[in-house]
C-alpha cells in the first residue's frame, strides 16, 4: 500500500516547523521521515503503473482469480 498524500503533506509541515530553530537531530529526523514516505509513495506508484493495458494491475488480479476466462487463457506450447 502507499502512504496517503495527506501524510506526506503533514510530514513536510512538521519538518519545516521542527527545523525553525536551526539544524538539530529532530530536524534531520523529521526530514528523514519525509524522505521515507516519499520513497514509499514512489515505490507504490512504480509497482502499480504499467503502460500495457493488458498488464494492468486490475486485469492481472482478475486473471489470477479467473485463469480459465477466455481473456486470461495462455497456452504455452
Amino acid at each position: 500500500s502507499a502512504p496517503k498524500k495527506e501524510a506526506i503533506e503533514a510530514a513536510i509541515k512538521e519538518a519545516e516547523e521542527s527545523c525553525a530553530g536551526g539544524a538539530s537531530g529532530e530536524c534531520a529526523a523529521a526530514w528523514d521521515t519525509v524522505e521515507e514516505l516519499s520513497a514509499a509513495a514512489a515505490h507504490a506508484k512504480a509497482a502499480s503503473s504499467s503502460t500495457d493495458p493488458l498488464e494492468d494491475k486490475r486485469v492481472n488480479e482478475y486473471c489470477e482469480e479467473n485463469p480459465a476466462e477466455p481473456e486470461c487463457r495462455v497456452y504455452d506450447e
Binding site: 506526506i8 529526523a29 526530514w31 486473471c63
Partner: protein
C-alpha cells in the same frame, strides 16, 4: 533476433509467456489461496510443496551442480538512488519475476524469485519512526540499526537456515511482526548499511555501491517528488541537506569497501545541464579480485577515450563518449569504465557492446537483450542501465565461480 533468443532459451528458462501469473505453478497458487495466520497443518504442507516446487524449478533454471553454497550480494545506496531498479535488473538476469512473499504482510519489503531473495536492511531498524523522532536520530545513523540481529540472521541464511525476519513498514513507520524467510541460492541484502558493520561485511561475497552525486540526487528527487502534494523545490532541498551530515558520516564511507561502484555524475558533454537527464556514469571495478574480472574497452590496462559516433553510427545531440583506464580509488587499484551521454537506438548499444570485453555475457548481445527486456526501467537509455546490467552479469559470474569450487 528476438525469436532466436526465445528458442535458445526454451529448455532453460521458464516460459516467457505474456502473463506469468497464469503460468504459475499450482503449488504457489495453493499457497497464496490459504490465509497464513497460524501455522496450520495445511499451510505447513503448502509451504513444503512450495519449497519442493522451488527446488525443482531451481534445477531447471540454473543447472546447478552441488549448489549448497549460498552467495551473499550486498548493495548499498541512499534512498531514492535507484536501488529497486538495480535490483530488478539483477534478479532479471537470474530469471523469474521477483515477488513479495505470498500471503504474508502486504507491506513486506522482501522480494523472492526462483534464485534470489532480496532483503531490505530497513527491516533491521532498532527504532521505529516514532523512536527515531524521540531520540532525534535519522535512519542513516547506526544507533537506529540493530546490527547484532542483522549479523545473526544474514549468517543463519548464509548457512542455509531459515529465520524469522522483522518487517519495517515504510507506510506506517512501525516494526511489524516478523515473517519467516527461508534460505535462497542467492541472498541480496540492500539498504543503507550493508557494509557498515564489519561482521556483516565479512559475510558478503560481492559488494556494490551506488554513488549518486548531489546534483543528480537533487534532480532525481525533483522528478520523483514534485508531483506529490506538499513537495516544493525548497522541501526537497531541505530534506537532502538535513540528511547530508549523517549520510556523509555513515553511508558514504562504505564505498571504500565496495568491489564495484557505479558513480553517477552530471554530463560533461553539455555545459550547465541541470535536469539530470544526460548523465556521466562511471563503473569503478576493483582489480585483482578472485571472483570477477573487470570489464575493459579495446585493450586491458590502457587508457582509451572513444567517441563511437561517426561513419558507422549516427548519434543525435549530444552523442556518446566512452572512457576506459586504470586508476586508484582510496588507495586501491581499480579499472574505470565511463559512459557520458545517451543512446536513442538499440544499434548503438550492440555496437558498443561488441567492443567491450570481459563482460561475463554468455552470448553475443546478452547485455543488449537484457536492456531491451527491461526497456521501461529508468536509466535504460544511458550508462546507469548499461552498467547496472553489466554488474548484474558480474553477480552471476561471482555466483558461478563460488558454487563451482
Amino acid at each position: 533476433m528476438q525469436t532466436a533468443a526465445a528458442v535458445q532459451c526454451k529448455p532453460v528458462c521458464r516460459p516467457m509467456a505474456a502473463r506469468p501469473h497464469v503460468a504459475r505453478r499450482p503449488a504457489q497458487l495453493a499457497a497464496s489461496a490459504a490465509p497464513i495466520a497460524r501455522p496450520t497443518f495445511s499451510s505447513t504442507l503448502n509451504q513444503r510443496t512450495l519449497k519442493a516446487g522451488r527446488v525443482a524449478s531451481r534445477v531447471v533454471v540454473v543447472k546447478a551442480e552441488g549448489g549448497d553454497k549460498i552467495v551473499v550480494i550486498g548493495l548499498a545506496a541512499d534512498s531514492g538512488c535507484g536501488k529497486s531498479t538495480f535490483m530488478r535488473r539483477v534478479t532479471g538476469i537470474f530469471g523469474g519475476e521477483p515477488k513479495p512473499p505470498s500471503g504474508g504482510n502486504p507491506d513486506s519489503n522482501t522480494l523472492i524469485s526462483d534464485m534470489t531473495t532480496v532483503i531490505c536492511l530497513d527491516d533491521y531498524h532498532s527504532l521505529d519512526r516514532n523512536g527515531r523522532k524521540e531520540a532525534g536520530v535519522t535512519a542513516l545513523a547506526p544507533e537506529s540499526q540493530n546490527f547484532d540481529l542483522m549479523y545473526e540472521q544474514v549468517k543463519a541464511l548464509k548457512e542455509g537456515k531459515a529465520v524469522d525476519k522483522p518487517i519495517y513498514n515504510h507506510v506506517t513507520g512501525l516494526l511489524d511482526p516478523p515473517e519467516p524467510t527461508s534460505s535462497p541460492n542467492i541472498l541480496v541484502i540492500e539498504g543503507l548499511h550493508p557494509f557498515y558493520d564489519e561482521r556483516v561485511n565479512e559475510l558478503v561475497d560481492f559488494r556494490i555501491y551506488l554513488d549518486i552525486s548531489d546534483e543528480i540526487k537533487f534532480a532525481w528527487k525533483i522528478q520523483r517528488d514534485m508531483a506529490e502534494r506538499g513537495h516544493s523545490l525548497e522541501s526537497i532541498k531541505a530534506s537532502i541537506e538535513a540528511r547530508k551530515p549523517d549520510f556523509d558520516a555513515y553511508i558514504d564511507p562504505q564505498k571504500k569497501k565496495a568491489d564495484m561502484i557505479i558513480q553517477v555524475l552530471p554530463t560533461q558533454l553539455v555545459p550547465d545541464e541541470k535536469e539530470g537527464k544526460i548523465l556521466r556514469v562511471r563503473l569503478i571495478m576493483k582489480d585483482g579480485k578472485k571472483l570477477f574480472d573487470p570489464v575493459y574497452l579495446f585493450d586491458q590496462g590502457s587508457t582509451v577515450s572513444w567517441i563511437p559516433c561517426g561513419r558507422k553510427l549516427t548519434c543525435s545531440f549530444p552523442g556518446i563518449k566512452m572512457f576506459y583506464g586504470p586508476d586508484t580509488y582510496y588507495g586501491e587499484e581499480v579499472s574505470v569504465l565511463e559512459m557520458d551521454g545517451q543512446f536513442d537506438k538499440l544499434e548503438e548499444l550492440i555496437y558498443m557492446e561488441s567492443h567491450l570485453s570481459n563482460t561475463s555475457a554468455k552470448f553475443y548481445g546478452e547485455i543488449t537483450q537484457q536492456m531491451l527486456k527491461n526497456s521501461s526501467f529508468p536509466g535504460s537509455n544511458n550508462g546507469t542501465g548499461l552498467f547496472q546490467t553489466i554488474v548484474g552479469l558480474k553477480c552471476r559470474e561471482v555466483y558461478e565461480r563460488i558454487t563451482q569450487k
